[in-house]
Symmetry: none
Subunit: 223 residues, 2 copies
């Protein structure tokens, strides 16, 4: 019996998604959450879900931070991002951050069902009109960030956890305690992380990684 988590702060949306899930899976166990904390608790208690439908905007989730947290702490759980928006950049970034799909809320039910089946089968889904419209980099700063994203994706799950804690400013010693491993091991991970991210200090890694969350800066027209 597949366990599916639906995380959205809007009950109506959860209901609609539940219908789609019931169509796409055989006797699913549907677990609903209205906030990120609930999702994390659920995942901790059941270890890993078979699928997680995650809204980008809910209490406790301001953007991709929730996705990143979940992906790094529960890499085994496939995540499909649900969003009211469908900006190509958002889609790309969500997928780059490890989401297995991106479903705009405006998607027809039938297509949602197909998308969920696709992801359950190990595929990835994105809105049709984006399959081709991808290779269109617009601004300059974007490129560098995308490069960095690609590098973050080469990190192993444990390394992502380390990077996560690194991002809170913790010492190696504290990270070791948190992950219940030796400080030596943390150092090994940090070294590997620095190489993969092509930076030369933890501080730089933190600065770079920090941008992944909040580089949603609206390009403002010249005055």
């Amino acid at each position: 019996m597949p366990q599916i988590i639906i995380a959205d702060d809007h009950p109506m949306v959860r209901g609609a998604l539940a219908l789609a899930v019931e169509s796409a899976f055989d006797q699913p166990e549907i677990l609903e959450c209205a906030h990120l904390a609930g999702v994390m608790q659920l995942l901790e208690s059941i270890g890993a879900a078979d699928l997680l439908l995650l809204d980008l905007r809910m209490p406790g989730v301001d953007g991709f931070e929730g996705l990143v947290r979940i992906r790094s702490q529960f890499p085994a759980t496939p995540v499909v991002v649900i969003s009211a928006l469908e900006d190509p950049r958002l889609v790309r970034e969500a997928l780059a951050l490890g989401a297995m799909g991106f479903i705009p809320k405006s998607t027809p039910r039938a297509e949602i069902v197909a998308a969920l089946s696709l992801v359950a089968a190990g595929g990835t889904y994105r809105p049709d009109d984006l399959s081709l419209a991808e290779p269109a980099p617009d601004s300059k700063g974007r490129a560098a960030d995308d490069d960095f994203l690609q590098r973050v994706l080469t990190l192993t799950p444990q390394q992502r956890r380390v990077l996560q804690l690194l991002g809170t400013g913790k010492l190696n010693k504290e990270i070791a305690y948190d992950l219940d491993i030796a400080e030596t091991t943390v150092k090994a991970h940090v070294s590997s992380i620095l190489h993969k991210l092509r930076v030369y200090s933890r501080t730089q890694a933190v600065v770079m990684a920090g941008r992944l969350h909040l580089d949603s800066f609206a390009d403002v027209a010249e005055g």
Copy 2:
């Protein structure tokens, strides 16, 4: 004959600013630059300008770094920051870093002229709607951040410059080079900064300080 430097990578913007400068000063000598390197060269050759209009975003300047470099190497030159953005936090920080004014590109010409005159007279300028709209905390997470902001404000100007460079992930050695001081001095500043901010590592300082800039998340409507 006052020497005024206009640094912006957009010719149209430079033109508009030049007009304002000509209205605000008597027979000004206007020097234009499209990138940071040119500004530094100009300042080195003429020693100090009477006013520098500096865009936040140009080749070689990703944010406050250029402002910091200029302020530290040519403290005698008053700098007015020109920006397409007008986030109150940006304004506050620019002024904290030693800018004598902050002029959004959307400002009417007449007001720009007045602002330039004000700064030339030794005053500081900021957009009107920010003089009062500052002390308005809205969300919960704000409280802690405001505490932190209060602590940041206890930093001396030079310490803020150091913190700024710290936030780019630079080593003490690099910071020393940028500010043209000894690494020992940088260490002294960092130590002092850590104490004032009540953190125990540069990484934590960077993480905390990072929040001050970019927690500007646009609230998006539900689908």
